[in-house]
Amino acid sequence: MNGPTRTASKHAAKAVEHSLAGRRHRSVTATIFLGYLLFSTFFGLIALTVLLFTIFRDGLPFLDSTLFANGPSAHPALAGARPAIIASIMIAIVLVATTLPIAIATAVYLEEFAQKERFWIRLIELNIQNLAAIPSIIFGILGLAFLVRGLGLGPVLLAGALILGLQMLPTVIIAAREALRAVPDSVRQGGMALGATRLQVVWREVLPAAIPGIATGSILGLSRAIGETAPLLMVGAATFVSFNPELLTQYTVLPIMIYQWIKLPQADFQGLAAAAIIILLAILITMNGFAIWMRNRFERKW
């Protein structure tokens, strides 16, 4: 008589068990997933810590005034990276002076003035995005053919800087456009309503509001350019330069110097390479610090 009921309750019990098991199962998955997320988060941090630790351990004893005062030498006791440090900083200055204005102006035009439905505007946008995906060595070949040989600039610092500028251009344009897009339309409309011209609105309201984002994007592009080796080797950066480089002389940069030293057999040069890496890191952190300062200085809440 109570047969079917019993079966039903049995079924119910089974179903509950099932769902319980399912929930338990889900919670295990969730734990695993959470663990995976945490691992991923800390993975980069651990790698960075190990990297920094090794570099500082190997490099700090070699980080002395000779490294800043002397040029490269076959004798580890005399070897320094002065020409490379100067060239790297000069390249950064040339990039800030040439690439940033062009990139920001491009972004302002595309975001604020261009009629986006025009086919040639879309063509430009497409090209900028494609340009950002081109491997750096290709830029090197372009620099060799166009700047060094075509324009007859020769293997000079300016040619290297310009080709790095071309390489970082799309990164900065894209970042700057994002920053401009993040400025609410109400700011533009408010300005217009008060009778300001489009130029005035962009110049006095939109651009200052976008500075934090533009600064971050610019520094990312700049940092990548400063750490670049491949395109510079292509456009003829030398490996041994003992004089202070100028815009129109031969040059070598810190990453190339580091690469050269690592390859040398004497153990002291490995330490010098690590010390040069610390200098490169210091330059990059200083630049990043400046970007963060800019962001804080101009940060606005809407």
């Binding site: 040989r149 293997p155 003829g236 031969q250 050269q260 610390i278 963060i292 962001r295 804080n296």
Partner: protein, 323 residues
């Protein structure tokens, strides 16, 4: 939140700054580094652009560095585009001097001819590869190039000395050699296995030849290859293998490398000077400096110096440029 970030940055920068001031003096002292410029010639100025072989680079760099002590107003730069890459730039009139680990090829010559680039060739040193074995290795004194090829082929399965030559004992073969970045590696693989870079990979590679020396010193069945000059710094610790390339066993030595009877593991190193460059006094001064100091420069860069005949030719070439 942003304030905290900038704080972190400041701490990081300050940390590096503190580290810079706290540490220092990691370099081992180097007495050979003492350079004097008592007889410096400040009348010379201009620049010399050298590019080419990475094998020759240590020699070119050393020559450039020491020459600039003598002529402080001349700036010499050295690039390492490789022998072929160097010639491409040289024939395109982008460099003054092309360093090379082999003579210029006919097609490169043709490229230079097409551009109207004339040049003078100077042998600047000799490169020889020594094969070293353990002192306790009494069985092998001479090895043929065919045996070397068996030993070092990319698909080599030789694990004992017996696998190479049945007369040798079944002592385990422990191989040492330079890292793949090295010019010595390129030269050895090309000479022995016929193709640059073709080598078995289960050997102990190192950019530090001293590691090769220590490794072979500690392994009875050890065999390694390195620049002859490195061996000559440690002759007591190791045995040297003779090489037979078909015309009898030849031991590597300064003489056999210089006269190229130690084949195929010896080669001359070159620098090519464009005639346009040799018109300039600073380039001629560099050549004169090199020829006068060739012995000490090659020794310090761990190459084999020029033979008397080679040096005489170099002197004649240098003298011929003066006019």
């Amino acid at each position: 939140m942003f304030k905290r970030k900038s704080l972190i940055t400041i701490i990081a920068v300050a940390g590096i700054g503190a580290a810079v001031t706290a540490c220092g003096g990691g370099r081992s002292s180097d007495t050979a580094a003492a350079t004097t410029a008592a007889n410096a010639d400040t009348s010379l100025s201009g620049s010399i652009v050298i590019d080419g072989s990475s094998t020759v680079a240590p020699l070119a760099t050393l020559a450039a560095e020491n020459f600039q002590v003598q002529a402080p107003n001349v700036s010499v730069t050295v690039g390492t585009s490789g022998t072929g890459g160097g010639f491409a730039k040289f024939c395109n009139e982008e460099t003054d001097v092309s360093s090379a680990s082999r003579a210029i090829k006919p097609e490169e010559q043709a490229e230079c001819d097409a551009k109207g680039v004339k040049f003078v060739e100077l042998i600047v040193g000799n490169d020889g590869i020594a094969l070293i074995t353990n002192k306790e290795n009494t069985w092998a004194t001479c090895i043929t190039t065919a045996e070397l090829a068996t030993m070092w082929a990319p698909d080599s399965e030789a694990t004992t000395w017996q696998d190479i030559n049945s007369a040798w004992p079944a002592e385990e073969l422990k191989l040492f050699g330079p890292g793949t970045d090295s010019g010595t590696f390129d030269f050895f693989t090309k000479s022995i296995n016929g193709e640059e870079g073709a080598s078995r990979t289960d050997f102990s590679p190192t950019e530090d030849d001293n590691v090769t020396i220590k490794g072979v010193e500690g392994e009875k069945g050890g065999l390694g290859y390195l620049g002859l000059s490195y061996y000559e710094q440690n002759p007591d610790k190791l045995s040297l293998l003779q090489v037979d390339s078909g015309s009898g066993c030849v031991a590597p030595s300064t003489t056999t490398v210089q006269d190229a009877t130690y084949t195929p593991l010896s080669r001359p190193l070159y620098m090519y000077f464009s005639e346009q460059a040799t018109q300039r006094p600073e380039v001629r001064a560099f050549i004169d400096y090199y020829v006068a100091n060739e012995a000490s420069l090659t020794k310090e860069a761990l190459f084999v110096p020029l033979a008397d005949q080679q040096l005489a030719t170099a002197k004649t070439t240098a003298a011929g440029l003066a006019g």
